[in-house]
Every structure is written in C-alpha cells, then in structure tokens.
Amino acid sequence: MLQIDRLSHSFKNGSEVTAVLRDISFRVHKGQMVALLGSSGSGKSTLLHLMAGLMKPTEGDILIAGHNIVSMSENRLAEFRRHHIGFIFQAYELLANLTVRENIELPLVFQSVQPSVRRKKALALLEQVGIPEKAELFPSQLSGGQQQRVSIARSLITEPSVIFADEPTGNLDTRTEEEILAILKELNKALDTTFVIVTHEREVAAQTEHILSLRDGYLITERQGFAEASLTGGPAIAIT
C-alpha cells in the first residue's frame, strides 16, 4: 500500500546542506496501523509531508497504491491526494464557515460528487465516529475531541488508500486522547484502512501495531514492547 524506497531529504541554507532524512526505506501493507515516532527534529514531520506529497524529496521514491508520487505534477498530486490520501491534522483544521457535515463532505466537493451522495456518506461517517447529532453544528460549537472526530470522518470520506494523522491527539486531554485512539483503532479494523500516525508520544505510538522510530533522520524499527499493544502476525514492516 505504502512503499518508501531509499528516501533522503535535505534542506539547503545558503551553502550549508542539512540532511533531515537519510536513506529511509519501509513498507506498510493495507489495513495496517503504523506509528511514526520521533522527538522534535527527528524528521518525522518532514517524512509525513513527503508521504502526503506536500514536498518533493531530494532522493528516493514514494509509492502509494502502486503510484510513485515523487514524479507527479502539482495538479496530478492534487488529483491523487483527492482519491488516495486522507489527512488528520493535530489542530483539526475544520473550516469555520462550514457545518460539521459540510466539512466532512469537502473532499468529495473537490471530486464533484453529487450533493445527495456526499450527504449520505457524511452522515454515515458521523454515525461511525459517534457524533451523528452534531451534523448541522459549526466547528466552533464542538469540543476539541468532537472536532477531531469530524476531522477523522473527513479523512475517511474519500475511502483513501492511506490516512496520515499528524499528532492526532496532540491538542487533546488524556481521556479524549484515549477516545480518539480507540476510534482510530476501531475504524482501522472495521474499514481495513491503512493509518500512519505521526507522534512524539510513545504512549500513543504504543496503541498501534507497529512503530517506526526516527532519530536524527535515521529509521529504527521497533516491535511493540508495551503491555497494552498487540502484535498481529509477522513483521509487517520490512526494512530493506
């Protein structure tokens, strides 16, 4: 589903070149939930942005559902993102002028999907994330946890190949964090959607099947070592 091959990225600051990611390769199979763990400056956010097609890497390939996004033009990438990538932001990033339902429908608006079809799908997803009664409210009328549920529903509406979640619980209290992680895990199982969760919190990463640890731009593979985490099947992540 997601394949990263010999990915490197560096920033140029005048004559100085700073390597952020160094020769990273891994694969995530369909339906897996993977955590990308790393402290500040480890390169995890850069990796996430590269995988989401928001940046071009200095070297290497990124294949999502068999398509190499590195060589795609901006418009082609937009088209690709629209169908294959879901995104969950740390600060939810819902549009304040749209209702909850309209926010969820937004990715389908860019796909020119009929309003009745969009509406039906959005309401079904709201049901799945547990806030069906909030459909016609505006984001400002919701709590942080509820807004993140809306953000999750929005990422799922296009039935993407992979969903990238950028610190999805970063703005939430512990109780709400647990609720959101539970929802993600539940949706992962129910919909067989691939999730890549970027976090700096080991506790959050521990909730996923596999952890990819990043340190100073290098990838370190870890098996789950936490009691509450579960390992399913063999090694899903292959370091090449």
């Binding site: 942005h49 928001l54 937009a78 990715p107």
Partner: protein, 450 residues
Amino acid sequence: MRLRDITRQSWDQVKRRKVVTALCAAGISIGCAAIIVAMSIGESAQIYIEQQMNSYLKMDEITVRANNGALADDSGGTADSDSLQQGRLTGQKLDIMRQIAHVSAAAPYLQIGHMQMTTMDNKSAQNPTELLGTDLETLASFGHSFLYGGLSDMQGTIVLSYGATLGLMDEETRDNLQKQMSGNYYDESLIRQMESLNRVPGELYQKQVRFVQYTPEGEAYSMPLRVVGVLAKPSGSTEDSIVYDKKGYISLETAEMLKKELKLDGERNGAFDTVIVKVDDQAYVEQVEKQIQKLTVTTETNLYQKERLAGEFKILKAAALGIGVFILIIASISIVVAMTMSTYQRRRQIGIMKVLGANLSQIRNLFIVEAALLGLLGGLLGVMFSYWIVWGINGLIYRLASEQDSVIIFIPLATIPVGMAFALATGIFSGIYPAVSASRTDALTAIRRD
C-alpha cells in the same frame, strides 16, 4: 467541482467577510452608478434636445416642393407652363407619397400668405397670421390637438394655432403703447407690459375673424371666416416662441374661395405649393426622401441637424462612459488590494483545501467567482444608487427649472446591462491576480503552525 458548490462557498465568503465585501461593493457600485448615470444623462439630454429640435425643425418631416427644373437655379430662363408639368406637385403625386412605406401622413399646403387677422370687435395682433390651405384632416397626424372645438366640413371656417389667438388688442391700445414706447425703448416696465399683452389669449372660438388684403392700388378686400377650432400649444414650445407662431388653417376649398375673394394671384390648377410628409421614424427619413425624389419634385429635410447632434452626443456619451470606466478602474484597485489581503488571511484555509485535494484551478475558480459575486453585488447596488441619483437630479431640475417641460433624466433600460457588465467585468478582472496568487499558495507553508 460543481458550479453550485463553487458559488455557494464563494458566496459564503462574501457574506462572512463583511468589511471586505462592503469596501469592494461600494467601490464597484460607485463606478457602476457613474456609468449608468452618465450614460442616462447623455441619452436623456440627447432625446430631450432631439424632441426640442424636432418641435422646431421637424426632423421627421420632409418638405416637398414643385420641381421647376433649370428655373430653380435663378438662371433667368423662361419656360412655358406645359414644359413644367412634369415637376408639378399634383394630387396624384400626393396619393403616391401617402402609399410609400413609413409615411405616416402627407399634408398638402397652399400658401395664401401672411395677413392681418381682425376680430369682429376690431382687435388684431401686432404680427400677421400665416394663412395656409390644407387637408384639415391631417392636422392630428402632424401632432396637433385641439384646445377648443375641432374640424368642420363647412366652408368659410378656420382653425387657428394657439399663437394666433395671443396678443389681440384694439388699435387704440396698441397706438397708446407704441407712443409710450417711442423714445423709451429701454423702459423695462413698458417692455414687460407689451410682452404680457402679447401673451394674453383672446377668446376666438366660434367667433368670426376677418383677413384683409390690400391691392397695390390701395383697395381692400376681406373675407370673414368662423373659428371652429383652436389648436393646443405644441409641446416643447416656450411662452416666448408661441407668440410668433401665428397660423390659420383652412380647407383647400376655402383657400380657393378666399383667393378669389381677396383677388390673390395664382391659379392652383389642382397642384399644391408644398406637401409635408411625416415619416413614422427619423431613421427612415432619408429612405423615404429618396423615393419621393423619384416623383420629379424637390425635397428638403432637417435631418442633417440630427446627424450633427448625434455626433456631438456620441463624444459626450463616450466621455461619460470614460469617466465611469475610470472610476471602475480605481474601484478595481480597491478590490485587488482587499482580495489580496483576504487571500493572505485565508492562506491556511487554502492550504487545508489543497491538502484535501483541491487543485490550482479549483482554488482559482473559488476566488474568481467570489470576485465576480462582489462585482455583481456592486453592480446591483450601483443600479440602485443610479436610480436614487437620477431621482435626486430630477428633483433638483424640477425645483430649479422655470419651464414645465424641462429635461427629465431617465435611465434607459439598455444602460443597466452595460453598467452591470462593467461591474461584473471589474470584479472578475480584479479577482484574477488574487485568485492566481491564492492558487499558488504553498499548502505546506500554509498549514504549518511553527
């Protein structure tokens, strides 16, 4: 992305960003109103002046005269009456003229001359009255209406113009006034008294009037005529001009009779002095004139006045349009600034949309439609403002103008789409730069919260 979704989202932004919307719409509305008002004033003034000129110069009329051929150029040649038969203005030619397309009326005229008109109580006007023999039935077709009375089949009757009834006074009064005035030519009060007396209408309806003709030998011949109708004041004429419009219309039969009684020269032999042809639209005057000329007659119109006027107003209207467009250009700068600022403020939103799959053209379209909506809103406001402005101008004219039928500014319907189109175009063109700038927003930079 569906047009409905683009429009809805753009309209949502227009509603949300009230200050930006108000600023942009106000700028566009002023420009749009300026265009509409300027064009309306130009158009109204042109129509008013055309109407005024038409009431004096009769630009929708063709004066047809007999064609005297080579004699007409005062070459001093002579010709026998038979050789001039071809150019005569006959009843047959009149009938043909009436059949020509776009001819709404054709009236034959016999010019009897300017004569002193005297009432039964010996009152007369200072200026003589022009006596015209015509087909009285055609008076209405030439825009005349009756203030008193109407047409009569009886011979020996006359229809007077309103001006012919003004300024009638007995000889003694006139002599007194003239005596007073002699030596006091600059006495304002006397001039005003004379003017006001010249404007007093006499009650001539159903009364007898007499026209007197003096022969070179000093013999006087006269004939009484009964006034069966008085025409209303022609529209557009002023109090001053009407005093000099002294005309008496009699039937062709009465004209023949009068000529005989007053021993006037000339035999009609079934021909007319002139025929006035009225065309239903000024646009066809030239075409009709060409067809009439085929009848070997001479024609004359005042159409060149209209062309001269149209040329002058074309310049005026172009200048007015230019002023409006200039204001719109200034307004468009405010839109560019306001929308660019709006784009900057919405960078994050644009970034999120891009992450969610919006491409360059979708973002661009959202902003262009938003700018177009601002243009539309400004245009609608501009139309509303222009009606208020025109209403205000008309109120001012009504207060200041001394004459009742002064110019009335109206908004021709055609100027509204012109104003709206300019407003819409200004919105769209002003939105292009902010829209392109918005579409080029780097999604990653926009969503970063560093």
